[in-house]
Amino acid sequence: MAAADGRHRGEGRGERVVITGIGMVTPLGNDVDTLLRRWLEGEVAIADGLARCEEFVPREHVSKKEAHRSDRYVQLALAASRLAWEDAGWGDGPPVEAAEVGCVVGTGFGALATMETQHDVCRDAGARRVSPLAAPMIMHSAAVGAVAIAGGLEGPAHGVSSACATGADAVGTALRAIQAGDAEAMVAVGADACQTELAIVASANMGATSPSGVSRPFDARRDGFVIGEGAGALVLERADVAERRGARIHGELLGFGATCDAHHLTMPEPSGATAARAVSRALADAGAAPEDVAYVNAHGTSTPFNDRAETNAIKRALGPVAAEVPVSSTKSVIGHLIGAAGVVEAAVTLAAMEAGVAPPTVGYEEPEPGLDLDYVPNRPGRLRPTPGRPLALSNSFGFGGHNAVLCLAAGGGGR
């Protein structure tokens, strides 16, 4: 328990921050328990090289007017946010003064579909026919404003964008806002819906996506990632605020570490040194050590470069613990949710910790020399036993060398 020895306090940062609400829309269901159950059963949501949110019905979550005025990724962000604050028991509005609640909403690609459509209109029908909604729908903060309006959140509200690390950076940035005293609660959201023709061919032409249409992280046959879509949202609250209102506490956000490779436009730095530093920073921020780590939710994209560099990073950061700890990738079953990945993966990591299980890397069969961690092939595994409270790491690494790592623990801990 964190309070017992004070080691898991986010040393030097002061405030403990807990997770009181989880919302998501994913290709394997629209709540975290469903996603975890289907993942543990080995269900894979990928078809024709894409992972779509087939079960998402926008009008169940957004009004006619909101639907008309927002790109699909914003609709996903709104749905996940509403599910998250409903889960947090917020009722008609935030439980504290509106100015004390903010949001960080990230996206990797943004409103690509709207941009493509309005560009076609401008070229084919003429300037006079371009929608007056195009600018507010395309601007990169479109989802931020939409979420703040929907929740009546009057605290700090802004966006983050760091490619595939966007979601984890959104959560980490929201954590810092609370710790800095800028807010008592924050909603951290990541969302992307970039399955447009342009994004699909562009990703294929750069060799990032899987020509075989299969996501098999860490396997020797891996050949790229599978483009998914979705959104994740976490309600973060200062622990004393959550406890005072008797909120149900899903877990604790203990640490955040972020670095940048400053190396290449798309490729990770192969030694994993800077990514390892992000892992170490997240652990230090949590006041924890490698021996406390029970599970690593990998970025695990299924690209040849990421999975090798990430393996190196885990070994560098965790030392001998790397050989003992289960490491698995959610992307093996739902593909790559881009800006949503970090939030959805942090949430499902928490659910797995709560259930006391390491979910599998589905489809992993053929080992590759040097990629020799316990990737939890195909069947759920056991968490690594830890001397104290078991901690999990959720890794997110993005094009441009962005590394963002979250350190989490299930339950309220400090109480």
Binding site: S63, H68, P132, P136
Partner: protein
């Protein structure tokens, strides 16, 4: 009589378009307040774009804003004054 029909046609079409943007069709009475229906200037531009296209008229958006329409009836009057009927 065909002219009157055209006016009726465009009025009904304007209401249909506005209903696609948010409010329910039966809320759109002549007296209904734009503010209460949450119809804003962006909605009016969208409506005007569709009407211009379908009825081959031109609606001066600057003039629409200057006239500060407050009700559905005001909107219909402006559309009519731009040749919609």
């Amino acid at each position: 009589m065909t002219e009157a029909k055209t006016v009726d046609g465009i009025e009904e079409r304007v209401l249909e378009i506005l209903a696609e943007l948010g409010p329910e069709r039966d809320e759109l009475t002549h007296e209904a307040s734009l503010e209460e229906l949450e119809i804003d200037s962006l909605d009016l531009v969208e409506m005007a774009q569709v009407v211009e296209e379908e009825f081959e008229i031109e609606i001066d958006m600057a003039e629409m804003r200057e006239r500060e329409p407050r009700t559905i009836g005001d909107i219909l009057a402006i559309v009519r004054s731009h040749g919609g009927g």
